[in-house]
Symmetry: C2
Subunit: 412 residues, 2 copies
């Protein structure tokens, strides 16, 4: 761990064996569970952290998340400050105030060992896994639109004094985590890079993307916007693997997790992360669940999330602190956010096909289906990015997919 | 001065009588001039500072600028941190490295008494005064485009590592000074406010602006962009009163001063400040210098500045640090900057007719000429703001003026 020595002092990483004694010595946590009867499982499937799910003999639980000092997927060659747990606690604290029903309860952060404690979501499951199995969870898309709108409004110039926003923006810079997005989402997929990989049959599609000067300059504009548009404290990594889901009596419920990429950025980036990942699920659905009710439901997710986002922004709008933001401004700003969402959504989908971090939606498909789904995703994303100014909003997202799907299926 | 007690500890303001002894006790400054033979004049005509021009018996000079703890024009009721001299020294230091030929030499800052020392520009004069007299200074417009391009490029993601830009952006926040612009430029002119004033004959024009929902939402978008688009360290107040000018052998030379409003903002704002103030000069020229060579020259200033800005950006472009900013991206980004420049230029011109801080270009005109020039400015600015997406660039700025001018003159 020499690579991190300049970034943070050495600290002890937790193991399933040491978690109980760690909890026993922390008064706050020791009250939440009985450390002497604790069962602990390390379940971190992400790239940056250890995650311990703990349950005592009485069924009480706690989840500990400890930041690793490097990018797990790449290894110790990519050091990363563990202080990003402070970013996560920042976002969780804000969300606890404005959307407590959409995030896990937050129990505090150990800034010496970079450990964050939160609710153990027993019985919940990562949304992506459920999407992969073709499960319908009605209403989840709308809850995520509500999450984005409330977080965006409450941390922006619409709800806070300008002085407060500027100080928060400066305090919340998160350049190391942002760099991961900048490189993996906006740069590497469009150039030759060792981090990229894709099946040989996809090479012509990838070559076409890379030689498309218009696409490249639009992706550049989106990258520039990601790096300079400090609109609100955004989640920063809001894909379907950052959402826990369950359904009760046919209604889906959601908890947003893992906001460690949060920083002041463009609001459309969170919406784009969602609709880009809906597109990946839609690609899978088109080749695995064709004609099923599930397929129809996935096709409607982007619009469901957008409509809830817009409805919540309009609900909150009368409470804005500065009346010089007129109603006409809101309409114009929403249009800009929708365009951003389509563009960022396209970038988020493309990187999952070409770049370093793949997704199970596409990776677990049999070869023929994989190629068809990946092709649909790339072509749809390309159109979203290049035509986002003309498409007229997120409701067009699915229409673009349907056209691409028809062309791809006809060619088979 | 009780209002400032929470903002900065009390500090002694300089007077023409105390400047010599202040310089004598400062080793760096004492080497630059002979304090024992110093003549001192306080010439601050701005709103925020004391400015002392000093010259010794040998003709050597120095300029001291001391920040007042309040807005001079409003008085002690609007307190303002004197730490803004640190913002000015930040900008002067950067400019000294990248455009040393376009700024006064910088001698250092006294952070205890908020005094900044720089070159005394003997024989130079504020550009606005020269414009008011109808003086031509060829090439000054191009020098200012060069200034904006070099400052923007060298402090942006195009020249610096992303980590560096984010840390600089956070350190350079300047919320108190930005608030002045936000309120005086983007808010007050469009609502009833005690700070506003204009002649009665202009009331119908002002009422039309205020009831124009489209204009209001576009001004809102521009305000939002001013408050969230952290592209580069911009000057922040680059009007023709922030430029010192002189000519030698028919060639104009320029020094940019007063960068205390600097912060990471949209590059088009500096260009907009220039072309908005060119518009004010153009309005004066249309009623005072009609048909004269001067009038033609002023009409070409916006394009001259833009062309130099673009040429310098293109000259620097091959040195950018991240090749994922493609040539196509530069074209698209320049188009966006041009649109911003027209929009911000319109806002900067309108506030000078309606809002708190007026300009001599318009204020010193006789009543009939004042009304005609002010009307031309307001209508041109309105079109720039609302049609900036369609106008196709800064070269259209003057065409819009010519149409407005013809209509206003015909009505007389």
């Amino acid at each position: 761990m020499t690579a991190m020595s300049t970034m943070a002092s050495e600290y002890e990483l937790l193991t399933p064996e040491t978690v109980a004694s760690y909890i026993a010595t922390n008064p706050t946590l020791a009250e939440l569970v009985d450390a002497s009867t604790l069962e602990v499982a390390e379940v971190g499937d992400g790239n940056l952290n250890l995650v311990f799910l703990c349950q005592d003999a009485d069924g009480r639980g706690i989840c500990l998340k400890q930041a690793l000092p490097y990018v797990r997927l790449v290894g110790e060659s990519w050091p990363l400050t563990p202080q990003r747990v402070l970013a996560e606690s920042r976002s969780l604290s804000v969300a606890a105030a404005v959307v407590p029903h959409l995030v896990p309860a937050y129990y505090g952060t150990d800034e010496d060992r970079y450990v964050l404690a939160m609710e153990n979501l027993f019985g919940w499951e990562i949304w992506r896994s459920k999407l992969n199995r073709g499960e319908i969870h009605r209403g989840v898309g709308a809850l995520l639109g509500e999450y984005v709108a409330n977080l965006a409004f409450s941390t922006s110039l619409f709800a806070l004094d300008q002085m407060e926003v500027k100080q928060q923006t400066a305090q919340a810079i998160n350049p190391e985590l942002c760099r991961i997005t900048e490189e993996l989402v906006f740069t590497e997929p469009y150039i030759e890079h060792d981090n990229n990989s894709f099946v040989d049959e996809l090479a012509p599609e990838v070559a076409a993307l890379r030689s498309d000067a218009c696409l490249r300059s639009e992706v550049g504009l989106l990258k520039h916007r990601f790096m300079t548009a400090a609109e609100a404290l955004i989640h920063g990594d809001l894909h379907t693997g950052s959402v826990m889901v369950r359904s009760t009596d046919g209604r889906g419920d959601a908890r947003v997790i893992d906001p460690e990429f949060c920083y002041y950025g463009p609001v459309g980036f969170d919406l784009g992360a969602l609709i880009g990942n809906y597109l990946l699920a839609r690609g899978r659905a088109a080749v695995l669940y064709r004609g099923a009710e599930y397929c129809e439901w996935v096709a409607g997710l982007a619009e469901e999330t957008w409509n809830a986002f817009e409805a919540n922004m309009r609900r909150l709008w009368p409470t804005r602190v500065d009346q010089t933001w007129t109603d006409g401004f809101l309409d114009a700003w929403l249009q800009q956010v929708a365009r951003d969402a389509l563009g960022f959504g396209g970038c988020k989908a493309i990187r999952r096909i070409i770049g370093l971090a793949k997704v199970s939606d596409i990776e677990t498909l049999p070869p023929d289906e994989h190629l068809r789904a990946a092709t649909m995703v790339l072509r749809t994303a390309n159109t979203w990015i290049k035509e986002r100014q003309q498409l007229g909003g997120v409701s067009a997202a699915n229409e673009v997919f349907l056209e691409v799907e028809a062309a791809v299926m006809q060619n088979d």
